[in-house]
């Protein structure tokens, strides 16, 4: 996903000389093409994410369009207060691109997991928070992000994740994407979990004859209030799926809307518990252990619905 995203940014940069890419010394070979074409507009800041956020702000204050790259916890959490002051409150044209949503860096351990980023970033003012579901969306987002004025946090997930779409979708920042329309049950998902939500919906149809609505909430902020409210008014059971801490991410964002919409149906969030249980293993292993596979989510939804 990151390769697709930055290839697209590189393509745009052939026509636009305002694009700068900064990295916190990560992304082996990822930027070789951009760097060779635009050596004066690429900077490896070194392992210094706070400095990277500040430098990005200084460039943006000089009319540059800046992309910053690192693994999520270093990009977001290490530099958080610099992002808050320098980029968010000053409302600058900086795109923070975090790689490794959820358990992507599985065996590297919790220091490398991206578990709290959506919660942290969506609370900051001015920042738009987007997480594409596959490479088609990542490519489209690269193009849209260049034209977008203002700070944006882009969360990228699996490197070779499955495709949600078979061709470039109609993708607009801030506009939720209804992938399939059903009735009664709705599944809201973000990032890599969109594909899982589709799998869950397939299984609900096959095994329980339930037609579920699947909504790709690629933009967490601003949240598409209209679509969530509309789904809330027409569905009796709503589930959220995210590879993120259960607190503060997509589920929390949807819950806020539901609570204010007087929704009185069933609601459950699927995510990662606030406290990890010490499992060691690959991303897929961890997703299974924490109940984020389509089989496990399907079982829990069936149980919640009380259909058997």
């Amino acid at each position: 996903m990151r390769d697709t995203f930055f290839k697209a940014v590189g393509d745009i940069a052939r026509l636009h000389d305002d694009i700068f890419i900064l990295t916190g010394d990560l992304g082996f070979k990822l930027f070789d093409d951009f760097r060779s074409r635009n050596p004066e507009r690429f900077f490896d800041i070194g392992v210094a994410e706070s400095n990277m956020a500040g430098i990005a702000a200084g460039l943006a204050l000089s009319e540059k369009n800046v992309y910053c790259y690192s693994i999520i916890p270093f990009l977001v959490m290490r530099a958080y207060e610099h992002i808050r002051v320098d980029i968010a409150y000053q409302n600058l044209n900086v795109k923070l691109v975090g790689v490794g949503g959820g358990f992507t860096y599985g065996r590297e351990g919790f220091t490398h997991y991206g578990l709290e980023d959506l919660a942290l970033m969506r609370t900051l003012p001015n920042i738009t928070v987007v997480s594409p579901a596959d490479i088609f969306e990542a490519k489209k987002l690269a193009v849209l992000s260049h034209k977008y004025k203002g700070p944006m946090y882009i969360r990228l997930g699996k490197t070779n994740g499955p495709k949600v779409h078979d061709k470039e979708p109609d993708f607009a920042i801030g506009k939720a994407m209804i992938l399939q329309e059903g009735n009664t049950v709705a599944l809201f998902a973000v990032g890599d979990m969109v594909y899982v939500a589709k799998q869950v919906a397939d299984k609900l149809l096959k095994k329980e004859s339930i037609q579920a609505t699947v909504i790709n909430m690629h933009t967490i902020k601003p949240l598409d209030f209209e679509v969530v409210s509309q789904v809330a008014s027409t569905h009796k059971a709503i589930f959220t799926l995210e590879e993120h801490n259960i607190n503060g991410g997509l589920g929390s964002a949807i819950a806020e809307v539901l609570a204010e919409s007087r929704y009185d149906g069933l609601f459950k969030r699927f995510g990662i518990p606030n406290s990890l249980k010490g499992y060691i293993g690959s991303a897929d292993y961890l997703r299974d252990k924490y109940g984020l596979t389509h089989e496990k989510i399907f079982k829990k939804i069936v149980k919640e619905l009380g259909v058997r």
Partner: protein, 276 residues
Amino acid sequence: MKNIRQYTSEECEALCKKIRRTILDLIHRTKSPHIGSSFSCVELLIALYFKILSVSPEYPEDTNRDRFILSKGHACPTLYVVLAERGFLSTEDLNGFSVDGGLLEQHPNRDLQKGIEASTGSLGHGLSIGVGMSLAGKVDQSTYITYVLLSDGELNEGSVWEAAMFAGHHKLNNLVAIVDYNKIQALGFVKDIVSLEPLSERWQSFGWATKEIDGHDLQEIEDTLRTVPFEKDRPSVVIAHTIKGKGVSFMENELLWHYRTPDSDEYQKALKELSE
């Protein structure tokens, strides 16, 4: 773009007293903190805004203007008063300092029309932003210089040294850091909290060219800043030895005046000293 007119040294001397009086007034009136930190950098800002910086309130967004970032944002009363004197801010703006429904906070918010380049107040941010501006200037082949005023206590922040290391490596000779070395930080003397010495050698080891000056000597500040870059391929840092609370005898070198706002008696005494 050049200054509208050059100010004489005598005018600048007189300005320093006037500016201290206005700062005193602002701080007393609004019961605001940081008078000591504001007084220590008066000469530095006067020299910058009346002798060095190529900036103009008529063209606040001129892409080739020099950039100034007050990284020690808590000393913004000095910045505001100097900006007002230089025509960027109005009396109304100053009257809107630190009051309900006001126009200026106790730490500066970015507003180019008012001559404020960046929001600061959290220490350890300004130098990185300055590095970004300096890089942009290099790529754009602009001739502007970016100046960043840091406090001494601020140098405790690791991010300052991240930026310093980067600037040294990239030979950013269009970047100038100025350390307002007044030797006192929030809870005590710098030398007792986390000593910065040998400060000049530390900057040099990060690839910077350094000069140490008396930060209250207008002529020395001007002469020094006119020679940047001090070395062809290095960023420059001016270590300005200053006195916290400079200009008012009972505030000078006193930790108390990092926070304290003068009461009526103290205000009158200070005003008298600054009027002599």
